[in-house]
């Protein structure tokens, strides 16, 4: 009797297992066949919540607008799924795995730098093509053949900022405050410094802070004020930047402030007194007040959907999807192809010499073999609570 029970159990167990396996097989089968009938799956990752949430939300919204436009055209179908990583490398890798289980075929990398460095090695190992809208460190693309950037690299931002300040004669005595616990901020600063030395810019004071001491900037500002700097370069994100602006205002210290793309977002910070940011300059590839057709159309659509003016990140997200769309058309990519197969074809396309994209964030954008983009930045200044092009 006892033997019999054991045998029954064994048989039952095997049967259950078999059913499970068949079930799995079926499921996988249906999802891939559904994929071929439907759309190419694009997976995006970025901070939808957390201190850097404005970037992730903007990229998601911008990318969704592009997907909607493409699907309306009908020649290639896209499906976008966006996962939150709270600007945390560990959560970003989890999000990446979630997307892979979902059947992602093309990746938008991640929005912010540190998570993207972690995700890019996964992308590299899996052979999935990835185009990050805004993760700007060179660590993101270094040594990875299938990882591309839509934004400038950090060194480029630092170099471009120094060149811009020098050519427009914006300051005689320049001070810098950067976050030395952050790869993005440190990367820009180092290149800025070396380019500034070449150009003969007069840097009088360099001060740092860390994520843990991003509250009190009075000491740094006091030093900078004592050094009599007339331009303060802030290669940092907008949350600490808002504190610096507020504290400088209380000290009645009014130099010019010059930021990079991390400054973008300061105007939409809840309850922020935008008059504090009056006259702040930043280098960014996108201006919402540009008068060309595609920018006007994008800004209008974005405003009607999300009730705010799109920032550079929204435009980056849009451009990423559009660039992938153009490449998919060129290479004849269809939704039934495997992710690594698509990866190889897209890499071939992006590195080919005749692949040029006119997007919202630049005309005639091309990509290097390294994954770096080449395009020209524009200078912007905050005027009456809105971004206005400087030239």
């Amino acid at each position: 009797m006892r033997k019999f029970t054991k045998l029954t159990c064994l048989v039952l167990a095997v049967a259950v297992l078999a059913v499970c396996l068949v079930g799995c097989g079926n499921q996988a089968g249906t999802s891939s066949s559904a994929g071929s009938a439907d759309a190419i799956k694009i997976g995006g990752i970025g901070p939808i919540t957390g201190a850097a949430a404005i970037y992730g939300q903007a990229v998601r919204n911008g990318a969704q607008i592009a997907v909607d436009e493409i699907n309306a055209k009908g020649d290639v179908k896209f499906e976008l799924r966006f996962e939150d990583d709270e600007n945390d490398a560990e959560k970003a890798v989890n999000a990446y795995n979630t997307l892979k289980d979902w059947g992602m075929q093309v990746s938008l990398g991640t929005v912010t730098t540190q998570p993207c460095v972690a995700v890019s090695s996964e992308v590299d190992a899996d052979g999935i093509f990835a185009l990050t809208p805004s993760a700007s460190s060179t660590d993101v693309i270094e040594g990875k053949d299938n990882m591309f950037q839509m934004c400038f690299t950090d060194p480029n931002q630092g170099v471009a900022s120094a060149k811009y300040i020098s050519s427009q004669n914006l300051g005689d005595k320049i001070a810098v405050i950067y976050n030395n616990s952050d790869a993005y901020s440190t990367g820009i600063y180092q290149k800025f410094q070396s380019e500034a030395d070449k150009l003969g810019l007069n840097i009088v004071c360099v001060k740092t802070f860390t994520d843990d001491s991003a509250n009190d900037f009075t000491a740094q500002l006091n030093e900078i004020k004592a050094a009599d700097a007339d331009l303060v370069f802030l290669p940092i994100y907008y949350t600490p930047a808002s504190l610096i602006l507020a504290q400088a205002d209380k000290m009645q210290y009014t130099p010019k402030f010059f930021g990079v793309d991390g400054m973008d977002g300061i105007l939409t910070l809840e309850n922020f007194d935008v008059s504090l940011a009056e006259g702040v300059m930043l280098l960014t590839p996108f201006t919402a007040d540009a008068t060309d057709e595609s920018t006007k159309k994008f800004v209008e659509t974005y405003k009607s959907k999300h009730n705010e003016v799109p920032n550079q990140f929204a435009a980056d997200g849009y451009d990423c999807v559009m660039a992938i769309y153009e490449a998919c058309k060129k290479q004849g990519i269809t939704a039934d192809m495997k992710a690594d197969e698509i990866g190889t074809k897209l890499v071939e396309c992006f590195t080919s010499e005749d692949f040029k994209i006119d997007g919202l964030t630049g005309l005639g954008m091309t990509w290097e073999k390294t994954g770096e983009v080449s395009k020209e930045p524009k200078g912007m200044v905050i005027n009456n609570g809105a971004y206005v092009g400087m030239d």
Partner: protein, 293 residues
């Protein structure tokens, strides 16, 4: 002039640390536990004040009172639900519970207010004072923070020295069992301590965010850790010690940022703490307690 300006900023930052440290030190002195959720009560206080002024358009003073009431209730609730059942447990169990409460508060704040940082409008709507041809500027926030810190310290010292409840607190802090034998209700005394500590946390939260106007669910954690350091620095359990420790910590932090290195500022602060504790293990004003075996 930069030196004076740094000194004033240091005292102002230190005063915020001091008010937070008072909460740590009172709870430790009486309940013999480290309430690591204290920093997060600060954050709740700041959010309540933010909501009252921004969404309900209440006057600043009312928003502070409201924040104090909410935090007092919260503090008593935390004590009653999380710490009271563990009164007889090991101190390690209570410590872990406190860390748990801290994360709980942060995540509830994340759910209610979301994680996007909010800009706190200062509740002190006065201009700065400029001296010596605008070379030295003292913000209204600094002045109010320092004054608030002094008033609170004097009031607390008077309260523990003169009032009946204050005497009960001192008795409980010296010997819980003997105090109970003398007819003091230990549970009520500890609850009142938490109530006072949490009300102070609300004030600290509002002052902290008035001076550094970014508010997010983790706003309280770093100042909380620094203030705890200040409490240990000054001698944990001692009210003037918390005040002295807080202000010294603020000054050391700002001075090391200005004159030594912005990168090493935090390392220097903690190095000073280690040196003080090596020389005087009970902190600057801490009493030497002989443990009975």
């Amino acid at each position: 002039m930069t030196f004076l300006s740094n000194l004033i900023n240091g005292i102002s930052l230190g005063s915020v640390y001091a008010i937070i440290a008072l909460g740590y030190t009172m709870v430790y002195g009486i309940a013999k536990m480290l309430n690591f959720a204290h920093g997060d009560v600060i954050m709740v206080g700041a959010y309540i004040s933010f909501c009252a002024t921004t969404y309900l358009n209440l006057p600043p003073v009312v928003s502070v009172v409201l924040a104090m009431i909410v935090c007092t209730v919260l503090g008593v609730l935390i004590e009653g639900l999380a710490y009271k059942p563990l009164r007889k447990a090991t101190s390690l169990a209570v410590l872990i519970t406190a860390i748990g409460v801290s994360y709980f508060l942060q995540n509830v704040a994340l759910l209610i207010w979301g994680s996007n940082p909010k800009t706190f409008s200062s509740i002190i709507r006065l201009g700065s004072v400029s001296l010596f041809d605008n070379k030295l500027i003292i913000t209204a926030e600094s002045i109010v923070t320092v004054l608030a810190c002094i008033v609170i310290m004097i009031a607390l010292t008077m309260f523990t020295k003169k009032s009946k409840m204050g005497k009960a607190m001192r008795a409980v802090s010296e010997d819980k069992d003997a105090a109970e034998l003398m007819g003091i209700n230990v549970n009520v005394t500890i609850s009142v301590t938490f109530a006072i500590g949490s009300a102070l946390a609300a004030i600290a939260g509002v002052l902290l965010c008035s001076a550094y106007p970014v508010l997010q669910p983790t706003t309280g954690s770093m100042p909380g850790i620094k203030a705890f350091t200040a409490a240990v620095f000054g001698g944990i359990g001692s009210i003037p010690g918390a005040m002295l420790g807080g202000i010294l910590l603020g000054i050391i932090e700002i001075f090391s940022k200005s004159y030594i290195s912005t990168q090493l500022a935090d390392a220097i602060v903690f190095a000073v703490l280690i040196i003080v504790l090596l020389v005087k293990p009970t902190g600057i004003l801490g009493k030497k307690i002989t443990e009975k075996v």
